[in-house]
Every structure is written in C-alpha cells, then in structure tokens.
C-alpha cells in the first residue's frame, strides 16, 4: 500500500490489527449463529415432515381417534385456503383503497397523517388481540347464527393483512412518477381514469408483492384463528361453520404430546412452510419484474 514513498499513515499497530480481525470474526460468527436456527428448522421439517407425507395424508381428515390412524390434514389445508382466500378478498381492496386515498387525495394533509399513524398502530397490534376482538364482536354475539365460523377467522386475518397491504400499496403508489399522472391529466383524462388506467397498472407488480406477503403472513397465523374458526376435524366448504386450518391443527397436535399426532404436526408444518415459501418467492419474483425503482 505504501509503495516506495514514505508512508503517509502510520502503519496499523498489531493491537489494532488484532482487534479488527477479532471483531470481523465476531460479526461473521454472529451471522452464522443467525442462520443456524433456520438450517435446523428446515432440516427437522424435511426429515420429520417428509416421513409422514403420503397420499392419504393429504386426502383424509383428522380422524380424532385416540388409537390407530390419526388421519391426515385435508380439512386443515382446505380451511387455510378458504379462510386466507376470503381474508384476501376483504383486505386487498380495502387496503389498496386506503393507499389510493393516502397517495392520491390525502397526500401530506392532516387527516391523511392521522390515517397513516393509525395504520401504523394496527401494524403493531398483536395478532391475538385482533382474534380477541373478533371473538368479542362476532363469536360471542353469534353473528350469522353460529358462534365459531370460518368467515370470522377470515375477518381476523383481514384485520392483520390490512395494514400490510396498505403500507406496501402506499410505498409503490408513491413510486409512480408524477410525470405519468400529469401527462395523463394534460391529455384530458379524468382523475379516476388516471388512477385506474395509469397509476394502478404501473404499480401492479408492487401491489401484488405486498398482497402475496400479506397472504403469506396470514397463512401462518394461529392465534387469531383458534378463537374464531376454532379447531375441528372435518372438511368444510361452509364458511359460516367452524373450520380447521393448518396452524391450528399443528397447535392442537403439539398439545396432545402423542407421537402419532406430533408426526402429523411435522407433516402439516412442512406443508405450511412450503406454501408460505412459494408465496414469498413469488412475491420476490414479481417485485423484481417491477418497472418501478
């Protein structure tokens, strides 16, 4: 570094060099420590989960029998897809609507700031408290004629997804260049056409990414579901009745502490993690396609 000229800087003393090397090693080591749990979780999921996978595992409902075949996870997979699907249908339009308000109409105004603030508050609310809220308002009241129901689970999940979708939507809508809006307005397009034909299509990949991440998060949530959709055995297409879900099934199986049930829990967990991984990978691919920064 010094070349042939006299060194401009004093050479690094051995003590400083040692400290530097030690700290670098420490940070590298910490990174390894951070990755170890992930590797371990994936290792056990694959090792124990694959063992319980079979055709029957995906095509039968939990039997509930104390001895013998515990059954599969068909009802749990179905229930998760139904409830998360409905929650998405609720949360995505509302979430994007609020994002449109914040970016296109509210901007930096006082009311918009208040809305932003409370969306932030919603983000921080523990999922179990949302579950409790739906439990109080819908389950105890027996809305719709039943106490526990799949759509109530969806409502709790939607509350959880809403701030995620809104925040993600706000970020990508802000990224749409103002020149595009101004160009369209100058050509005489009314505001709503600018939003629906210019702004939303431009931001679409980002919106989809936000949606997929919200779906991935909702799919893994247990706490809000055990109060609202509860844990049942049978498959159901009736969103107004109690409904099983993968996380709830895993939770109840772990609690039983029977080897057969724990084996089913591993299989269900592997299924759930794979579903979530596919969603997050999709989200990543879509966001890479985005033309926005």
């Amino acid at each position: 570094m010094n070349g042939t000229d006299a060194p401009v800087l004093p050479p690094v003393s051995p003590r400083r060099r040692r400290t530097d090397r030690f700290m670098r090693g420490l940070f590298g080591g910490a990174t390894i420590v951070a990755i170890v749990p992930l590797v371990l979780v994936i290792f056990y999921l694959v090792q124990k989960g694959l063992g319980s996978w079979s055709i029957d595992f995906f095509t039968t409902d939990p039997s509930g029998k104390f001895f013998g075949d515990p059954g599969g996870i068909k009802s749990a997979i179905l229930g998760t897809i139904e409830m998360v699907g409905l929650a998405t249908l609720i949360a995505v339009p509302i979430g994007i609507g609020v994002a449109i308000y914040l970016v296109e109409y509210g901007k930096r105004g006082r009311f918009a700031q208040v809305v932003r603030y409370f969306i932030d508050v919603m983000t921080g609310v523990p999922s179990i408290v949302f579950g409790l809220f739906i439990y109080i308002t819908l389950v105890l009241a027996g809305t719709g004629g039943t106490a526990f129901a799949g759509w109530k689970g969806s409502a709790a999940l939607a509350l959880l997804m809403l701030p995620i979708v809104t925040r993600a939507g706000e970020v990508v809508l802000t990224l749409v260049p103002d020149e595009l809006r101004e160009g369209a307005l100058a050509l005489g397009a009314p505001r709503w056409r600018v939003i629906f034909r210019i702004v939303l299509p431009t931001a679409l990949p980002g919106l989809i990414t936000g949606m997929l991440l919200a779906v991935a998060r909702a799919a893994g949530e247990t706490a809000p579901l055990i109060f609202t959709a509860t844990i049942v055995k049978g498959s159901s297409l009736d969103l107004n009745g109690p409904m099983n879900s993968l996380p709830a099934q895993i939770f109840s199986d772990v609690g039983q502490a029977q080897d057969r049930l724990v084996a089913r829990a591993w299989g269900a967990a592997l299924t759930l993690v794979l579903m979530i991984l596919i969603l997050t990978t999709l989200a990543r691919v879509v966001s890479r396609r985005s033309r926005l920064a």
Binding site: R24, Y101, G220, T222
Partner: protein, 334 residues
C-alpha cells in the same frame, strides 16, 4: 376559464368541456376511498372501546391496578391478578432482546460492510427467510427438539452459576429461557432488516473519510457507522420488543403455562398472550374469567402500543435527514 374562443362554432360542445355527469366517477372514487379511510379509523376506535368495555367486569372487581399488578392468577378461585403474566411477558421479551439484538446488529453489519459483495443478497434472503417460518412451526420445533436438547446444558449452567441471582435451582423443561430464545430467533429478521436499512443511510463520505484517515474496518464501523445509526438501531430493537411482547403461539407451547412468577430463569411461567390463547376455551362460560382474558389483551395492546410509539420515534429520528425510502420488504415490518 370560460374561454369562449375555444367554443366550437355551430353550437357544438367545447373541446375542453366535459359532458355533465362525467365528473361523477371522480366524485365517487374520491368519496369512496375517503370513506374507507374514515371507516378504518372508526374501526380502530371501536376496537379499542370494545376491549375496554369488555374488560370493565374484571376492572370493577379488582381495579385496573389491582388487576395488572396483583400477583395472583387463580382461575378456580376466580382471582385474577395479572402480575405473573406481565412479568413473564417482560422477562421473555428481555431475554429475546438481550440475545436477538446483538446478533441481529452484527449480522446487519457483516452483510452491509464485511462480507464479499456476491454473498450480500443471498445472505439477506436467508436471514429474511427466518421471518417466513410461522410462529407455530417455531413452537413445534422448539418443543420437540430444543427443549430436550438444551435441558442438560441448562441444568449444568444453573448448577455451575447458581451464585448468580435467578439462575440456580431446578430446570423445568419448558421455561422462560427457552421462550426467550425462540423469541430471539423470531425477532432477529425484523431487527436485522431495519438495522441494515438504517446503516444504508450512513453517508459514504463518513465511511470513506474514516478509512482515508487510516481506520481499520472495525474502527470505521465504530466511529462512522454505529454513532450515525444508533437511533435507528434503538428503534429496530423497540420494534423487535413490540413483536416479542405480542408473540403468542410459539411462547404458549414452550413457556410451561404456570401462572406464577418463576424463581429462576429456568422456571415455568406464563405470558399475557399465552394465557389468552390457552384459557379462552374454558372462559367462555365464566364472564369474569372471560373479562379477565380480554383485560389481559387490553394490557398487551397498551404495552405494544407504548413500545411501538417509542420505536416509531427513534426510527423517524434516524430517517430524518436521510431521504432514503423504506427498502425493507413491506410485509417484513409487521
């Protein structure tokens, strides 16, 4: 704007004038999204009031302070003092912060400053993958694998260092420490992501100046990066704390669910979130018990609200001055 010169002859419509009614969709859209936003605010207000309303039964009986700070939670006697739960929540979250935050910050530093450039994005993705594993799966893994695996090590630690307060004594299978460990793993990705984001706002000039003055990498980190991003790291830690406080299912599985204040780090305990998840089933028929669980939810909500407020303050302060937009994947922050 009544520009007569634009009016086409023969009484035809001006090219700049829209037919009446053309503004209707505009008005509908603007009102629609505004009403949605108002509805969200009303929903949150209703949410808060409803929680308070349903908690009054237990608050009337024990008082707000009595409920929150009495050390006695006994369902069979209908006595509800939530102190063991509050303490359990605080202990497990504190353990999670103590273990999770240093590792998360070190990981962020390694990824942004030290590791070879081509490992940067794979490492980022791997650390973020930790956030993709659902709570219940961490709970399952910790309960089946970690609890039996760590128990001898914990017992050895408890025996060897029994002179340290709150360490010695019997080691229960599920305990505060295991719960804190699982929480540490769960908050790591979010703390690391926000720390990375904050560190990316450190002006390159500062780093280059430190290096040009002859600083080693570590000295550059210590003198340029850490002071600049201190507020942001505090904010990230507080967000992690908010997460840890509200985390339910994984903790429910590995905390042991004993409604008392454990006498050591390795005792069974309970947290606010875990008690709600566990006892709501039996509480349906007992209004006082139900109210107590809802009040526990309210305390939990207020606690996370408070912690998130502080986090927001720090993160905003860290972001001020740097015009960098949020780069964390939006779903991560929750």
């Amino acid at each position: 704007m009544e520009a007569g010169s634009f009016t086409a002859p023969d009484g035809r419509r001006s090219v700049l004038k829209r037919p009446s009614g053309a503004r209707l969709p505009d008005v509908i859209l603007q009102w629609g999204v505004t009403v949605l936003s108002v509805a969200i605010l009303l929903l949150i207000a209703y949410f808060f009031l409803k929680l308070i309303d349903e908690s009054t039964t237990v608050f009337d009986k024990f008082g707000v302070f009595g409920f929150t700070f009495d050390n006695d939670w006994d369902v069979s006697k209908s006595v509800f003092g939530a102190l063991p739960l509050v303490v359990g929540t605080l202990i497990t979250s504190a353990i999670a912060l103590a273990m999770g935050v240093p590792v998360a910050v070190a990981t962020a530093l390694y990824i942004t400053e030290l590791c070879p450039r081509r490992f940067r994005s794979p490492l980022t993705i791997v650390v973020e993958l930790l956030a993709a594993v659902p709570s219940v799966v961490y709970g399952l893994w910790a309960f089946i694998v970690i609890v039996p695996f760590l128990k001898p090590a914990e017992q050895w630690f408890a025996d060897t260092f029994s002179f340290i307060p709150f360490v010695g004594g019997h080691v229960a299978g599920p305990n505060y420490f295991i719960a804190g460990l699982v929480l540490a793993i769960m908050i790591l990705p979010i703390v690391s992501a926000i720390t990375r984001e904050v560190m990316s706002t450190v002006p390159p000039d500062h780093k280059e100046a430190a290096l040009a003055l002859g600083a080693t990498r570590w000295e550059m980190i210590r003198t340029a990066i850490l002071p600049y991003s201190r507020a942001g790291i505090s904010g990230a830690a507080m967000l992690g704390l908010g997460r840890a406080i509200g985390e339910t299912i994984a903790v429910t599985i590995v905390i042991g669910n004993a409604p008392q204040i454990g006498d050591s780090l390795f005792s069974q305990g309970y947290t606010l979130a875990a008690v709600i998840a566990n006892e709501f089933g039996e509480a349906a028929s007992n209004p006082l018990h139900r109210s107590a669980l809802i009040a526990a939810g309210l305390v939990l909500f207020v606690l996370t609200l408070f912690v998130n407020l502080i986090a927001r303050f720090y993160v905003l302060r860290a972001e001020r001055g740097s015009r960098v937009t949020r780069t964390v994947a939006p779903g991560m922050g929750q």
